[in-house]
């Protein structure tokens, strides 16, 4: 039997990781956000490029708008408008970094892969590592044959991926970071996913009895 950390040591460790993430990265921990950036890196890059192009061609755009205005309303209206608005004239530039965070998506990929490395190394050191073809005896008892387990994992994984993106956070984003800041949406989300996980687990537990 493997000895796990006692609850208070686990709390210290988990809380410590949240704080380390904040102190090193400057943001609050959120794994599903990293997932979103890794899976959607291509679309995000296209979006950023489009924004950059727009920012570069802004003068061209305003010239074109000016020409249209001249054609539509005539010189007099334009001069009148310019004399009114010249006092509060501020150039509105599109901030590219504002629309997408400046952290490269590969850093998020690095975060996810290092989670694997950290878990692997720790599992080896503490003797928890074991190559297994099933998740656990209990899991196989619930879901049955090998292919049924695989199917359950695939569809369950899709629910996790879809659900976390829809809810805008997961255990770390809503549960750890959001609840620590007492954000109403995160408290609600944590309550809902805990209750639904407990409900389904109890149901599965009753069914295999």
């Amino acid at each position: 039997m493997i000895e796990y950390w006692s609850w208070w040591l686990g709390a210290l460790g988990l809380g410590g990781v949240c704080l380390a993430y904040f102190l090193l990265v400057g943001r609050l921990l959120g794994v599903s956000g990293s997932w979103a950036k890794v899976v959607g890196w291509r679309e995000n890059r296209l979006l950023r490029q489009a924004n950059q192009d727009f920012a570069a061609n802004q003068d061209e755009m305003s010239d074109a708008l000016m020409a249209e205005t001249l054609a539509e309303f005539g010189e007099d209206a334009l001069q009148e408008f310019q004399s009114e608005s010249s006092i509060s004239e501020t150039p509105a530039k599109v901030d590219v970094n504002d629309l997408d965070s400046s952290t490269p998506w590969t850093a998020h990929l690095c975060f996810l892969l290092c989670m694997f490395i950290g878990a692997f190394a720790t599992a080896i050191i503490s003797g928890q590592f074991e190559l297994r073809y099933e998740l656990s005896p209990m899991h196989s008892r619930i879901f049955g044959d090998t292919w049924e387990v695989w199917l359950a994992l695939l569809s369950g994984g899709m629910m996790v991926g879809f659900g976390t993106q829809m809810a805008g956070g997961c255990t770390s984003g809503h549960g750890l970071s959001g609840c620590a800041r007492l954000i109403p949406a995160s408290l609600l989300a944590t309550l809902v996913f805990m209750i639904s996980a407990v409900f389904l687990s109890m149901l599965m537990d009753v069914m295999i009895r």
């Binding site: 950290g118 994984g157 976390t164 993106q165 609600l188």
Partner: protein, 141 residues
């Protein structure tokens, strides 16, 4: 590559290693332990989770001014999304971070969970652009 980019890779990687190690030692990758937590026969991990929230709450309150405002809002997808996630978590024993920890333990079927998550995230992006379009406030955006 810019120096700031190398630095952020290093920082994210360091926290990732710590996160993986801590989750391993708490036992979150063990489906049996997780199942015992969900049916309330062993609440050790629940206490760890609550303790971690309490600890970060206190420390973050002390540094209140430096903490960036989180963009987490109540949106139409919050409740149905969380419900889907809860059911998926009970089935696979994996939240988006635990799947890597399970793989690190040598649980090979977790590959299927990972494929499912990638597919699910990708599908949501498509569905969101086409049907939903509201602000989800996903972490760090």
């Amino acid at each position: 590559m810019k120096t700031s980019h190398i630095k952020s890779h290093f920082e994210y990687g360091l926290v990732g290693i710590m996160f993986g190690a801590v989750l391993t030692r708490i036992g979150f990758a063990d489906y049996d332990e997780l199942h015992k937590m969900f049916i309330f026969s062993d609440l050790r991990m629940m206490y760890s989770f609550a303790g971690a929230v309490a600890l970060s709450m206190v420390v973050l309150l002390l540094m209140n001014k430096r903490v960036p405002k989180q963009h987490k809002i109540l949106q139409p997808g919050t409740v149905p999304g969380s419900m889907l996630f809860g059911f998926g978590w009970a089935i696979t024993g994996a939240c988006p971070s635990l799947v890597f920890v399970q793989l690190g333990h040598g649980a090979l079927p977790a590959v299927f969970t990972m494929m499912g998550i990638i597919l699910g995230v990708w599908m949501y992006r498509k569905a969101h652009g086409r049907f939903f379009g509201w602000d989800t406030g996903t972490c760090g955006v």
